[in-house]
Amino acid sequence: MADLTYREAVAEGIAREMRRDPSVVCLGEDIGAAGGVFKTTQGLFEEFGPARVWDTPISEQAIVGAAMGAAMTGMRPVAEIMFSDFLAVCWDFIANEMPKVRYMTGGQVTVPMVVRTANGGGLGFGAQHSQAVENWAFTIPGLVIAAPSTPADVIGLMASAIRSDDPVMFFEHKTLFASKGERPPEGHMVPFGQANVVRAGDDITLVGLAWSMPIVIEAAEQLAAQGISAEVIDLRTLVPLDASTVLGSVARTSRILIVEENPLQGGWGGTLASIVADEGFYDLDAPVKRLAAANVPLPFATHLEDQVLPSVATTVTTAAAMVNS
């Protein structure tokens, strides 16, 4: 199969579901003829037309709220929030409405919808266009949280997301858009809650998600050159969280280093670390470590942003110190 980019995989993943199921519709700002500001909806308007791909005003509350209302009445809307930072302007719908309606109606109503968004830093977009906010969503019970790191996972998780009867937050990473990978066959699906053991290893478990996957994979290569065998796990979804795979790995490696893009305070790695420090406690031979963004807003300048985010170098150094101490 030919390769495709992560960016193309987004559009392709949506298109496959739209072809399959007429109840799938898209809405968002500039997603129609313009193809989205990140070109992640390119071709959808041409293939499916204005009755399936809807341009909206700058009204994020209306976007997510309307998607909800449609989801509750027979449709499967896929709403785009252009940058994940903008989830803040419709946070009520993400935090208080979408994930709670099923519960508070006693199961009378379901909300099968996807909110897609371009997440994360690394492109010099500054404090209000660079945040990794999967941890915001992680504070809210009732949301599925997917964050793919490869084009194939984009397509496979998108299929699961759109077919899911639960509300799904789908985080697409800006720095991965240009990356390439194999085009998965038609029908490819990646189930939720199944972490991907990208590389097997014995000495330490490296856990990453989306943005941090290229970093932990490269770090594992460099560690191998030092004679350290790192197991690399891509969580793929934060909810459901595949804690078993992580705990199983730690049971063998006895060391864990979690690499997150979101800030250390309130980052998702805290919860994962707490699970390991509880349920995996007796397996551990070294302190549980996390590398996460510094607790500062993201700066604009590239050389400053580099100071704030974890890197391959810090991952390698930290992991090596853990194994060698």
Partner: protein
């Protein structure tokens, strides 16, 4: 103008039915108040007593498959769409027979069988959702209409603005019905709003006509909503209707409503929707004896509902862990 914009006919049979509906809603809320006072209802309640004319009138103009969205003050809307007084009261009492199995409570009454899609407790949040169900009807090519009921205070929150604009841009079959009861909680709406009529005076900002009506007259509400429904079904897009009304109790259970100017409540009680409709029935020739029969029947229905709700068991404690996900459970990790 399409046919639907003509005033609809009113039969005394209609009036009788609406009168009974009004009384059942009023009686159920009175019972809820008493149950609250006796400690059997916990949390909080926002009684709609005084607003029922809007619910009954609007419902009379809707089809069973139309969608209705309400706020935390939504008892009247849920019941007008078919929720039984018993399921309402049982919900307030955390019973297993409650509309939402005790997980929703007064502020989240929902009755999906009547396409009453829920009550929402964050001001303004349900308005975009109503836009969404209207969009859904267009996408599915049904001619269902969606209605969002909301308060005067809700017109000052961002979601209102975004919802109405999107509805107009997409020309969706949605009707925004404001229950202007003069207050946002304890503060007069006039003191925090840039215009006199919080909803109607905003309509022009979305190219919609200004409509202000008497919300305490079921027939007026039915007629005006009926016209908006006809426009919506004809593909002519949304409407905003501002209904003037008044709540008889305080904002919520703890509120003695001391901020009201003297005599205001009394004046509005004279325009109580129940009284207004009763007068219309009398005028239409319905006799006192017949009215007494209706009133007795309504009262009995409420009494029965109270007893049944009281008798029902609390919801199963395991319900706390169901219904998060569509598979019925709440599992979040392996």
């Amino acid at each position: 103008m399409p046919d639907g914009t003509q005033t609809l006919p009113v039969s005394t049979q209609d009036l009788r039915g609406w009168y009974e509906q009004l009384l059942v809603i009023r009686g159920t809320e009175k019972a809820a108040f008493d149950l609250f006072m006796s400690g059997l209802v916990k949390g909080t309640t926002h009684l709609a007593a005084g607003h029922e004319g809007v619910a009954v009138g609007a419902s009379a103009a809707l089809r069973p498959d139309d969608y209705v969205w309400a706020t935390y003050r939504g008892h009247h809307h849920a019941m007008a769409r078919g929720l039984s007084p018993e399921a309402c009261l049982a919900e307030l009492m955390s019973k297993g027979t409650g509309a939402c199995e005790g997980k929703g409570g007064s502020m989240h009454l929902t009755y999906a069988p009547g396409n009453m899609m829920g009550s929402y407790a964050i001001v303004g949040s349900h308005m975009p959702m109503a836009v969404g169900s209207a969009w859904s009807a267009v996408l599915r090519e049904t001619d269902q209409v969606s209605v969002a009921f909301f308060g005067d205070g809700a017109t000052n929150i961002g979601a209102f603005h975004e919802a109405v604009n999107l509805a107009v841009v997409w020309k969706l079959p949605v009707i925004f019905i404001c229950e202007n009861n003069l207050y946002m909680e304890y503060t007069p709406i006039s003191s925090v709003t840039a215009v006199e009529h919080p909803a109607a005076d905003r309509a022009a900002a979305y190219s919609l006509p200004r409509i202000v009506i008497d919300g305490n007259d079921v027939v007026t509400v039915r007629d005006e909503v009926g016209k908006a429904v006809a426009r919506a079904r004809a593909g002519e897009g949304p409407s905003i209707i501002e209904c003037l009304t008044y709540r008889h109790y305080g904002h919520s259970r703890t509120d003695p409503a001391k901020y009201r100017p003297e005599g205001e409540l009394e004046q509005w009680l004279m325009r109580d929707p129940v009284t207004v409709l009763r007068d219309q029935l009398v005028e239409a020739g319905v006799g006192e004896d017949e009215l007494t029969v209706i009133e007795g029947r309504a009262q009995q229905m409420v009494t029965h509902a109270v007893e049944a709700a009281k008798a029902a068991p609390l919801s199963d404690p395991r319900e706390a862990f169901t219904d998060v996900w569509a598979d019925g459970g709440s599992q979040w990790r392996t």
